[in-house]
Amino acid sequence: MKITKPAQAGTMESNDIYVQLLPAEGEGIEIRLKSVVIKQFGKQIRKVALETLQNMGITECLCLLDDKGALDYTIAARIESAVKRSL
């Protein structure tokens, strides 16, 4: 499933993550992550984001993430909201 309608979820506040989903120009899922803890948790955040998108059946999108130290379930929840809003 492709993301065709842009959608957003989350906030820029501490312990949260701001998710923006846009239709992809290339193919597949592209995740662009900015995080205050990118060195410590960058890999993990990407993994959670990608898994959440894949579990929801998304195959193509541009996913912009602004992380302010969100925990895994926050990340998953925010992405899930954004995907549902884009449908």
């Binding site: 842009p6 906030t11 923006q20």
Partner: protein, 341 residues
Amino acid sequence: MIESLRVLNLQSDEQLKKLKSFLNDFNLTLDAIDYAIVAEIGQTIIGSCCKHRNILKCFAIRSEYQGLGLTQKLLTEVAYKAFEQGYYHTFIFSKPSNSEIFLSLGYKEIMTTDEVILMEKGNTSIKDYISDIERKYSLGSTMNGAIVMNCNPFTLGHQYLIETASKQVDRLIIFAVEEDASTFPFKDRFELMIQGTKHLDNVLVLPSSFYIISQATFPNYFLRDKEHAFTTYARLDLSIFGYWFSQLNVKIRFVGEEPLDPMTDMYNQTMMEVLPKYGMQLKIIPRKENDSGVISASKVRALLKEDRWEEVAKFVPKTTYDYLLRADEIIAKLKKYDSQH
């Protein structure tokens, strides 16, 4: 904290007055905005953030309320609004002292001058933009020149400037000012530039993008007020050009001599001061004249207003002339309003 966020009604003079007086304490003036949100305690504003299209500005928070997460709340609201309106690439204008805050919120610096900082965030960036055109047009190995032009509309003067400049470099890039603040719409101005330079193989016409004389780099160029603000933004705009566009191997920026318009003249002066810092040279090319003096687009517009078509023909190439014959609606509009550009 017990602050509340409120989206202002921009139609309300009273609310705007309150915002203006709040911003005044930070030496910020309120220029064009289409959305404003404030944080208040009781009736008192303690923080604000506004936007105009995809440009965030007028950001301020009272010092005693800083560091409590108010920035994040305000910014989130404005970012949501911009996104809802379809702006996926946003800019922030602010004071250089605020750069840390915005960096931590995912904004990237485009340029900092003594007085202002411009940052961006979203699905594209100036770095992507520059490397895309470098690759697409293989600009890496040649010695290039550039001209930024509005061409409202394209005249024999523009053509002469381009021909002269194109002889002095391997490739000449014409950046067509994309901002639609002129009588002739961008789409038409762009097309006329392409047609009017078809005979020159080493000339490339490109849209100017967000990064050259746009509402983002240069709000006051379009507002045309306050000389100080003008030079401030001119310096920002030209620093962006010098720093980023020199990466396209642009070694010379050409301009036409400007005997007529004091604003453009001031812009040219600032160019002379800024560009050499980035290893770019400025070359001023004297204007082409015909038997009635210097050729300029403003003269063409004046002639069009009076339907003096025979004289128009002496000022513009055939491609522009043919277009003007078909441009009834725009000329009717031109006759009705006075536009500075």
